[in-house]
């Protein structure tokens, strides 16, 4: 068959099975350098603290820690500890896993959310999940608090906070 004579129709299942296919599974592994800012933020989480950076020029308290203020274009002026409580800015109720497979009916729904942390500037939220709540009762503006892993189980990752729960 010539390329300009190919009928533009899909294959049947049987035709698809018969077709020769090429498969490849890449091995992609990375270990990113955290550097100054991410390093400090994760070290804070390991100690059970949420750290933010301050910029004395724009006055923002920024989450997570950053080593430069991207708006003022200058190094930040140190870190401050903010609260581990806040307000739900937005959320969604997910019925699928991150690989798009469906949750079984008996599995709890995932509730990823943006949480505006108390003590940080407006718009400086973090991304986390809401737990220990009936999904139907979650509302924008609801107050939530961090539920931490026990100190000895924390490793310096954002999942050192298990979830945020309403209180």
């Amino acid at each position: 068959m010539k390329i300009d004579q190919v009928p533009m129709k899909g294959l049947t299942s049987e035709e698809y099975e018969r077709a020769i296919k090429i498969k490849w599974q890449p091995k992609l592994q990375y270990a990113w350098d955290n550097g100054i800012a991410i390093g400090k933020y994760l070290a804070g989480l390991k100690e059970g603290k949420i750290l933010a950076s301050q910029c004395i020029k724009c006055g923002r308290i920024m989450l997570p820690v950053r080593s430069f203020c991207e708006l003022c274009w200058r190094p930040t002026d140190g870190e401050v500890e903010v609260k581990d409580t806040g307000v739900i800015n937005t959320f969604a109720i997910c019925h699928v896993n991150w690989d798009a497979s469906r949750l079984r009916p008996d599995e709890p729904r995932h509730i990823p959310a943006v949480i505006e942390i108390d003590g940080a500037s407006k718009g400086q939220g973090i991304m986390h999940v809401i737990g220990n709540v009936d999904p139907k009762k979650v509302k924008i503006g609801m107050r939530v608090r961090a539920v931490w892993k026990p100190a000895q189980e924390r490793t310096g990752t954002i999942t050192d906070i298990i979830f945020f729960e309403p209180y």
Binding site: I22, L28, Q29, W32, G35, I36, W73
Partner: protein, 383 residues
């Protein structure tokens, strides 16, 4: 060219085998701060931003979303090209030529040390039907090309080794370089075989680092800078995509890009009119092949030129005074950026111990690496 483009600021971090102290954003920020300071501009005064990166090397898909913060380019026009730095620079030049942009920042960086399966990523660039099933290392293609190039041109493995000795020695005078060393020809010839004739020391080793360059229209460059370095010509070219159909005897992409850049810069006799060149030496033989392809030596004579000392830092045509990728480190999509910065330092007469006297005009060239046949050539001058 319609108008010349001026380089008014360069910022470059050092190049290092590893760089755990800084994230890629922090590394790029530190380069951008230097470049903008030289240009005398705040990021808000720069009209647009172009960055060069390859998602698989970053470990992020849609990596362009992660570039604005560290360039001061939040809520500004930014775009990323999957290309090598000098191609991004060429795009920046075209944007200025439109008349809609006066100043552009161009960025590229390498965090190659963060890619734990670097060889897998490189092999992933091979054709999945016709090459990957052979399960050969990414270096095999360089070995094939080196074999054919040496056989057809008459250059020797010993002459390739002389390139390595020269470039790594040059790097000893470059504070930014990661791989400065005093080697002998025999050190290179006796280094472990990889894809023979290619040996371990023929291969530039990876490095981390970031480069930011600010360019401006001719008028703007004159107004903003006391010592702008001019881009008189810039062109790039992609060759045959299927490596098994390539002419390994010369680098046609470099030849064609150079011809175009010479025409733009009105250069008739490159070897006479250029004071030094910074060219791709990701593998030792590539320096010889690129020299011949761009008209600096006749076929088979680049090796003799190297052995005679003509391409040494004090020779008639210094080649890779920075130390090249062999001496500074291979920075993937940032490799032409490192070479461009060296050319700018030399042309501003700021190259310290390795300064080439009275340097006025230079060529900078990059190749996008295995398995590509893509390369860019730029002609720079200081007057």
């Amino acid at each position: 060219m319609k108008q010349r483009i001026g380089i008014i600021g360069v910022g470059v971090t050092g190049f290092h085998t590893v760089s755990p102290a800084l994230s890629f954003k922090e590394m790029t920020y530190s380069a951008a701060v230097k470049a903008y300071l030289e240009a005398g501009l705040q990021p808000g005064e720069i009209d647009s931003f172009v960055t060069a990166s390859e998602d698989f090397l970053e470990g992020y898909s849609i990596f362009d979303e992660y570039v604005p913060d560290q360039l001061g380019a939040v809520m500004r026009p930014v775009h990323t090209v999957t290309a090598e730095f000098l191609q991004a620079l060429g795009i920046g030049c075209m944007m200025i030529q439109t008349g809609h942009f006066r100043t552009i920042a161009v960025e590229a960086h390498s965090k190659a040390s963060n890619v734990k399966t670097l060889d897998e990523v490189r092999a992933f660039a091979f054709d999945p039907v016709y090459m990957r099933p052979l399960k050969e290392s990414a270096e095999f293609l360089a070995g094939l090309e080196m074999k054919r190039f040496l056989e057809s041109s008459g250059n020797s493995e010993r002459q390739c080794a002389a390139v390595v000795v020269k470039n790594r020695k040059n790097a000893l005078n470059n504070d930014l370089a990661a791989y400065g060393a005093l080697l002998t020809i025999d050190d290179v010839l006796q280094s472990p075989p990889v894809s023979v004739p290619l040996k371990h020391l023929d291969i530039a080793q990876r490095a981390d680092g970031a480069i930011v360059v600010v360019i401006a229209s001719e008028n703007e460059a004159k107004a903003l800078s006391k010592n702008p370095i001019w881009i008189d010509g810039i062109a790039w070219c992609s060759g045959q995509g299927n490596p098994w159909c390539r002419d390994f005897e010369e680098a046609e992409y470099a030849k064609r890009a150079a011809e175009k850049a010479y025409a733009m810069a009105k250069i008739a006799h490159p070897r006479k009119e250029l004071d030094f060149v910074e060219i791709c030496d990701e593998y030792s033989y590539k320096e010889l092949q690129h020299l011949e392809s761009m008209g600096f030596a006749r076929k088979g004579e680049a090796g003799d030129l190297t052995e005679s000392g003509a391409t040494a830092i004090d020779g008639e045509l210094p080649v890779n005074p920075s130390g090249g990728s062999l001496g500074v480190g291979h920075t993937f999509e940032a490799s032409g950026g490192m070479k461009l910065c060296e050319a700018v330092f030399q042309l501003r007469h700021q190259a310290g111990k390795r300064q080439i006297k009275n340097a006025k005009r230079a060529l900078v060239q990059s190749w996008r690496g295995v398995p590509t046949a893509t390369g860019t050539v730029a002609i720079l001058s200081n007057e």
